[in-house]
Chain length 487, copies 2
């Protein structure tokens, strides 16, 4: 495992001081232009040198006719060029003394034997000049802390703690918005493309040593350096959790992966074994990979697998209890002290079992505070899972009947929702145990957004919430096994 | 199976001409008041008689001191009363000749032996007076076509085709917003509560005979009348699909269900057998139950299990291919005629395999139309699954660079997104095969909403989309088996 990220060959790719940019122009319709615009609008603090055969300015920056003409030797070259001129341009870079490159262009190994020959040629050039390449056929890197974003989509939201190594660029770019809406974000994300040189394992090792990364997500179509992967992952898992989505295990997924990046996939049980041996938690879907990452990266580690479910309605409570059971969690009886402390909040139709069903208490806001605090204090349990009913329409109707003027109803409803979320957040932010929730309301509503942007992991379904808690328990188990060398 | 819904004991409960309402007042903080307001604001076309011991008007309606004082014998009594006066009020109703009641009040079998005695007493009263009761401890009914909504949350959106029979009221009320955001809705939804008299099977039978219902969803904590359930479901499944979520199969779920409605659950394999025998498709989560229902209720039935995956990015394509394989779907090679027709839309980095990866063609809008039409016309496949990248930020940036004034950027971006969705909808609305899609963008964004409100099933993850298609294939298989008496 790396002690410092500067030891990684990816360091200067993710943290360059200067970049030569090949393939951007003044035509906004071109992919290369969009990548350059992302670097510029993303706040990259270093120097950018567009290289263009005819234009003297590109997107307002001074442009240079070739690598040889650059006023300095940049740390990194980014290429979004037609396939046929990629290799010759790499040679130019090599002659200039550039030692790191991101090749975004496709048309290599992934399209068949002609492309594969071109890729072999690329490798030879890189070896000759000592160039480390990320790609081809990938989107490069988004390091939100540097910041540097070489993809064609702008970053949204603040820098986060999720490191990503991905054999698809979409799981970098399409997740900027996806994660930001959930109040989380990448630390650094790599799109490794065809892995002609630097690969998924290099990205994993970089992220393992990166202090901004608290959890690592891997999108895997196939791992080439299996032994090195296991060694690296075993060392890193003892420090920070790794979650993987492997899509090459089915016939259909294996074939699709091969035509995408040419990766060699293996059967599901093989990868299951590799992941288990390495302390890696396997996710069943893209959504689940990021669900797991957002709890593992930000919540305290649970002491055990015992969860209390809080609800004000029987069905969601039962569905959550069932989902917990299937996710390997136990629902202990509450301690006597907890039952006593709950007393004043529970109407006679409620239940101090587990799920705790407070139905509709006199004060509806009890569900945000203090009930969650009482349940977090329960000595018999390790985690708290809350169902949020968020009865927006009733609050609104109530305000209307109480005489709030029509033109202020929207504003007052939002204010109430945000105040409720704030109460729950106060409990959450001081909690020493993991606390998550679910609701069937939209993730974009004021209540949900207030919770999510406050760091609270809110899910759209009890199953997702329960499985995320299950992943935390699983990580604890794997970590203990690695520490005691049981696996 | 019922020929007409009027044969069901639930008919007058879901379609009353007149209602006596017990437990509403002029206090907006009370549950009963909220239920009455839902009935009123929901557009119930019949007569409503609030019964209140002291008020002469309730929410602007003329109120009556007791059932005996009502000016007619209403079809239905709705009760949201303190537990202790429910049975005596039911007796009053019986003496007045009222034959149908919804009892919302809790405090019966679900709280233990004292409540169970009260519930036995209730049954005796109902038998004595010939009253058919839905409840207690349930929210009654939402018939969006009548319309009648006795729950405490207002309905959102237009009437739909999903019938629901639920052992939890939350899966009625909380889904009004959830389904409306997805462009679908209930036809009629029943919350059966403790099932003292009318039960889940009665609701299933009503929905089976209801012409507004095209698919039935069941939230199940435990089925009491097993044999009747199987008979009813087998008959109905031949006409319309039934999807069930069963939460009583895990230890944790079984216990939670018992303290919720007192339902007797059984082990998972038992219910698996019951569902299979009955032609019922089992969902793994609440979200999935409604995912299945929205495709089964509205898309044409696929001829087989062969799906084409359309993408413009390798990773989402591979993830979708893998999810399809795991959902029992096959990805056939495209017919030669399809490959030829695709030719003009495919750049050299694209793939006419399956997934079809059109990467970024010259015209980005090809992904909405005509490419989906070409793929739907493929003679080798039965379904189409599309990944939508929806690059909102790039469109916006492009418009900005092309000189669209800042104050019109929002409007123009939305207009573009909606125009793209419209193109896809034109293909969808004429499709004779199932067509679904997924995106990682928010379901509340203009593009997603335009698709969803146009009836297109859009999902947040390839796994959900693939499993929904898998459920359609499974229904076809079950239906054929029922028709040939193989099960």
């Amino acid at each position: 495992m790396l002690d410092r990220p500067t030891q990684s060959p990816l360091y200067k790719i993710a943290n360059p001081d200067s970049i030569a940019f090949f393939g951007a122009s003044n035509n906004i319709g071109r992919m290369g232009t969009n990548l350059l615009l992302s670097v510029m609008s993303g706040g990259f603090p270093g120097r950018i040198y567009p290289v263009h055969p005819s234009e003297s300015k590109v997107q307002g920056l001074e442009a240079f006719p070739s690598a040889a003409d650059l006023p300095e030797t940049p740390d990194l070259a980014v290429m979004v060029l037609p396939t046929r001129i990629v290799n010759s341009t790499l040679e130019e870079c090599g002659r200039k003394g550039i030692h790191h490159a991101i090749v975004v262009s496709g048309g290599f190994k992934e399209i068949g034997s002609d492309g594969a020959s071109l890729e072999e040629e690329m490798k030879a050039i890189c070896q000759r000049y000592g160039i480390r390449v990320l790609g081809p056929n990938g989107l490069g890197v988004a390091n939100l802390h540097h910041p540097l974003n070489t993809t064609f989509i702008p970053v949204e939201g603040r820098p986060g703690v999720i490191g990503l190594a991905s054999q698809s660029g979409s799981f970098v770019t399409q997740m900027f918005n996806y994660l930001a809406r959930r109040g989380v974000n990448f630390s650094t994300a790599f799109s490794v493309g065809n892995e002609a040189d630097l690969d998924l394992v290099d990205a994993l090792e970089y992220l393992g040593g990166d202090p901004n990364t608290r959890v690592i997500a891997l999108y895997v179509e196939g791992i080439t350096r299996g032994r090195r992967f296991v060694e690296a992952a075993r060392a890193i898992s003892r420090q920070k959790p790794i979650v993987a989505l492997y899509v090459g295990g089915s016939d259909t997924g294996r074939k699709a992966g091969r035509s995408h990046t040419g990766a060699m996939a293996g059967p599901d049980p093989l990868y299951d074994g590799v992941f288990k041996q390495s302390g890696v938690i396997r996710a069943e879907s893209v959504a689940e990979m990021f669900d797991f990452a957002r709890v593992l990266g930000r919540l305290p580690q649970p002491a055990g697998n015992r969860v209390v479910v809080q609800t004000n309605s029987g069905g969601p409570g039962a569905a959550a209890a069932d989902a917990c059971g299937r996710a390997g969690l136990a629902l202990p009886a509450l301690a006597q002290s907890t039952i006593e402390a709950l007393g004043e909040y529970l109407p006679h139709t409620g239940s101090a079992g587990n799920p705790v069903d407070i139905t509709f208490s006199q004060n509806w806001d009890d569900v945000y505070q203090p009930v969650p605090q009482v349940l977090l204090d329960d000595p018999n349990s390790d985690m708290l899972l809350i169902y949020f009913l968020t009865p927006t329409e009733i609050i609104r109707r109530g305000m209307e009947k109480m005489g709030v003027p029509a033109e202020r109803l929207d504003e007052e409803t939002v204010r109430h929702a945000e105040a409720c979320a704030q109460k729950a957040l106060e409990v959450f932010q001081n909690a020493a145990k993991p606390m998550v929730g679910f609701t069937w309301r939209g993730m974009d509503e004021p209540f949900s957004q207030a919770l999510l942007q406050g760091g609270f992991p809110l899910f759209s379904d009890p199953k997702s919430a329960a499985r995320a808690l299950g992943a935390m328990v699983e990580y604890g188990r794997l970590k203990r096994k690695l520490e005691t060398s049981e696996i």
